[in-house]
Symmetry: C2
């Protein structure tokens, strides 16, 4: 490590609308030295997720923003290089929030060991990690799909959406996915077994969605909002549930965009249809993790849940990949390969 | 009964905006004759409730509209006059949906006997009936107030709102009521024991509400919507719950009124604050009735729940009283005395 440096992406400025490459600055620093109880982590994979857009902004949210000149936050799969923490030894592969950098320190809080198994260690950032748990816990605690019900999810080829649809199928529900473009829609049906897929770019998107949901919508897993919500809203059945884990359509908005649905219309439907709308973030349901880890691993093993990764090579690609993520350019869970996996490389 | 007639209010026309007296027509018909299994009921008390505005309209809702020239629907406390139903005998006092008329038939479905006790039989339409259960079940199943939390309710001197505030107090929460005018606000604090009361007619209503809720709002029991919601919304704490049982502000609207809160703002808050917004009608929680009846009766007995009735004399007053109800003119549970109580008269 002697001639190596810690390459890291700092937040250079807060975006005005959609983030651009200039909001980030690549920095080189010395590899940090772990103190008492700390470990030095070498990042192998960095997860890129839509919530990071929120951290770039100083608008009030459930988590504090990244400070200007601070290292961008993010979850990583990393190798323990040096450990002053009795729970970890060098060579351990861990899940840790090391951020957008090649090396990081950790005192072990929030860290979990990643076991090597039949799936790549990068899945700890996707189907077996936070996005998978978001889908699992949101359906379990709020969506609660019953056999024969219709479950709709947007960004359906992404890590949360694809898990939502496949878990809905396992629960005996009908899964309808919304995605951008024919290729992603075909993937939903041909690979993931969704019952229907609708392209949100189609000019007659709302009509197509209505046709894809002839019995209405019982669960809408909301991670997008905006015009997708406008199309979903009139199709809600009585007692429909809407877990809200994201509103990507608004993340880059400087002013909130126009929507067809207004609050009075919404509230009247909430009452007359007895809708349940509830926001959550994955950490609210951390206690579901053990059940999730067991169920999801066996579903993957049995071939009932499939996943797709979109791996970008090199930490220098992170900003461009993240900018593209918010535009739906990725196809599958977006992960940046930051460093070598000591086993596969 | 030989020279008596059945006086009944028919829906003459559907309102365009706020209902007016001309939307109703007083009709006289023969007293109906019960068939096999049926009873003849003589109405003593007729309940007037905001939901009836919905039944006058043919907009899609959770219940079918009253047809033009149909008898207006409504819950009543009535005396059984003739019974071909083995479960009831003449002289029984029952709760039944006999409607806006002096006599009605019933096959016994949805009927319940009203026992005479320490409270008037009219309370079966209020604190011990549908409005009381609405408050009880909405708090139990959705609002779930915890000790020390702040519960806000509008139309707080009405039968639902007053029960919401008092049950919230029993659960150890802080109760803040919203009502129209100083007299109702004073009643909330002096008689019902609310911790604070805010007059929604005050020009600085939103500021006053914020001052009355220094620790934010954990539960907002929504029965009004409109500008009250706009003032409540920014005060929501993380994990706040909003049971929605009514949207009175919109009942008379021909177009939905302007609101300061828009769907994108709402959805972002649903996510970042993890709000739960859920509509319900009292019949969804019918299974809570036995617990409710037991708890509420003992709370009244112990003086922990107080109630107020606004009794209007004579069925001919029903339309005017109903029109006033939607303007907040009543003070307490609005009931029309249609016929004599055989015991008290």
């Amino acid at each position: 490590m002697s001639n190596e440096v810690n390459r890291r992406w700092l937040l250079a400025s807060r975006p005005d609308g959609a983030p651009v490459a200039e909001n980030f600055r690549l920095d080189e620093a010395e590899i940090p030295v772990p103190g008492e109880g700390e470990m030095l982590l070498r990042v192998i994979y960095l997860s890129l997720d839509p919530y990071m857009r929120g951290r770039m902004s100083d608008a009030k949210s459930y988590a504090a923003p990244v400070p200007i000149d601070g290292v961008m936050e993010g979850e990583t799969v990393a190798e323990v290089m040096v450990s002053n923490n009795p729970d970890y030894v060098p060579g351990d592969i861990v899940l840790a929030r090391a951020g957008w950098q090649s090396y990081g320190l950790s005192d072990g809080s929030g860290v979990r060991k990643v076991a090597r198994g039949s799936v790549p260690i990068s899945t700890a950032l996707g189907v077996l990690g936070m996005p998978g748990l978001t889908a699992y816990a949101g359906l379990k605690n709020i969506g609660m799909p019953k056999e024969g019900e219709t479950v709709v999810v947007a960004a359906a080829s992404g890590p949360v959406g694809s898990a939502v649809g496949q878990i809905a199928k396992i629960r005996g529900a009908r899964a309808v996915g919304i995605a951008g473009g024919a290729k992603k829609c075909a993937y939903l049906i041909d690979e993931l077994g969704f019952d229907a897929a609708v392209d949100h770019r189609a000019p007659d998107f709302a009509e197509q969605l209505a046709k894809a949901c002839p019995d209405g919508i019982d669960v809408y897993f909301e991670n997008v909002s905006g015009k997708v919500f406008d199309a979903v809203f009139p199709l809600f059945n009585q007692f429909a549930r809407m877990p809200v884990c994201g509103t990507i359509a608004f993340y880059n908005a400087t002013n909130f965009p126009e929507m067809e649905t207004y609050v009075p219309t919404l509230m009247r439907a909430v009452l007359t249809k007895r809708l349940r709308i509830q926001g959550f973030i994955v950490y609210d349901f951390a206690s579901d993790y053990p059940d999730f880890a067991r169920d999801m691993a066996s579903w993957i093993e049995e071939g009932r849940v499939k996943y797709r990764e979109d791996i970008v090579d090199g930490i220098e690609q992170a900003p461009e990949a993240f900018v593209g993520l918010l535009k739906g350019k990725n196809f599958g869970k977006l992960v940046v390969k930051v460093g070598a996996d000591p086993v596969s490389s």
